[in-house]
């Protein structure tokens, strides 16, 4: 019962904030609503017993990426541009297509539950232990089985860091 209350609360907040995010004129308002969406997603991670991912989402996404977005929005001074047209002409086509795809996929998901043997059962986890060692399992996997992607991701981050600094640097032409 508590599980479903938490899920519906976070899911509702996520979808509502996402909808508000793509429709605001002011880019800072969009950023704030993206922050709430990301926090709600972190809540969904916590509800799925992925506690390291919950806190990684908060630290990296909300505390890192969104700060970057807000800085750039302030740098670009988008607040003075709010009076211009915000949406392109094809918005109604896009909305119609998106709704059609969602409806179709939703029907697939609902029907799949009714077919015998097609639904996905949760693997029986021991319900009595309150603390599953999620961080330890993640760390073990990351440093043993998935070590190569880990190292590649670190090289990727280094490249991205250097690239971002080079791109955003002011040109002091002598």
């Amino acid at each position: 019962m508590l599980d479903s209350v938490i899920f519906y609360f976070f899911a509702g907040v996520a979808i509502l904030s996402a909808g508000l995010m793509v429709t605001r004129r002011n880019a800072i308002h969009s950023a704030i609503f993206l922050i709430t969406t990301l926090l709600a997603t972190a809540g969904i991670f916590l509800q799925l017993h992925a506690e390291f991912l919950f806190i990684a989402q908060i630290i990296l996404y909300v505390g890192g990426i969104m700060v970057l977005f807000i800085f750039v929005i302030m740098l670009v001074r988008l607040d003075v541009l709010v009076s211009r047209i915000q949406f392109r002409l094809q918005k109604w086509v896009a909305v119609f297509v998106a709704l059609a795809v969602t409806l179709e996929a939703g029907v697939v998901v609902v029907l799949a539950r009714r077919m015998p043997g097609q639904g996905l059962l949760i693997r029986a986890t021991a319900g009595t232990e309150r603390l599953e060692p999620n961080t330890e399992k993640l760390a073990t996997g990351l440093f043993t089985g998935y070590l190569l992607p880990f190292e590649i991701a670190s090289v990727l981050l280094l490249v991205a860091m250097v690239g971002a600094v080079v791109l955003a640097k002011k040109r002091n032409d002598a």
Binding site: M21, L34, F45, A50, F69, L138, G145, L157, L167
Partner: protein, 100 residues
């Protein structure tokens, strides 16, 4: 845990809202934010299935996606800043230098 369909539908809804944002908004920064939303929707999907199968690989992949999204946001915003310095605009249909 809720039935898996709920998480899939939530992930799908966020994905579609992100797609609408990418296709319909003129402001390139909001397009980038919608792309972040799409990546988040995928993350929810991965973590839900990781819980179903008890395999931690889904969460590891989601962690890599978060790291990747950070790198991509940084570089994308660098490009926007560089472009803004040249053309003084962030609206997508005004970035038409290569149009013939």
């Amino acid at each position: 845990m809720m039935p898996i369909g709920h998480y899939l539908f939530l992930s799908l809804a966020l994905f579609m809202i992100g797609v609408i944002g990418v296709i319909t908004r003129r402001n390139v920064i909001i397009v980038l934010m919608s792309i972040e939303l799409i990546l988040n929707a995928v993350n929810i999907n991965l973590v839900a299935f990781s819980r179903v199968y008890g395999d931690v690989a889904g969460q590891i992949f989601a962690l890599f996606i978060i790291a990747d999204a950070a790198a991509e946001a940084a570089v994308g915003l660098g490009i926007i800043i560089a472009f803004f310095r040249n053309r003084e605009t962030v609206f997508a249909d005004e970035m038409d230098l290569l149009k013939w």
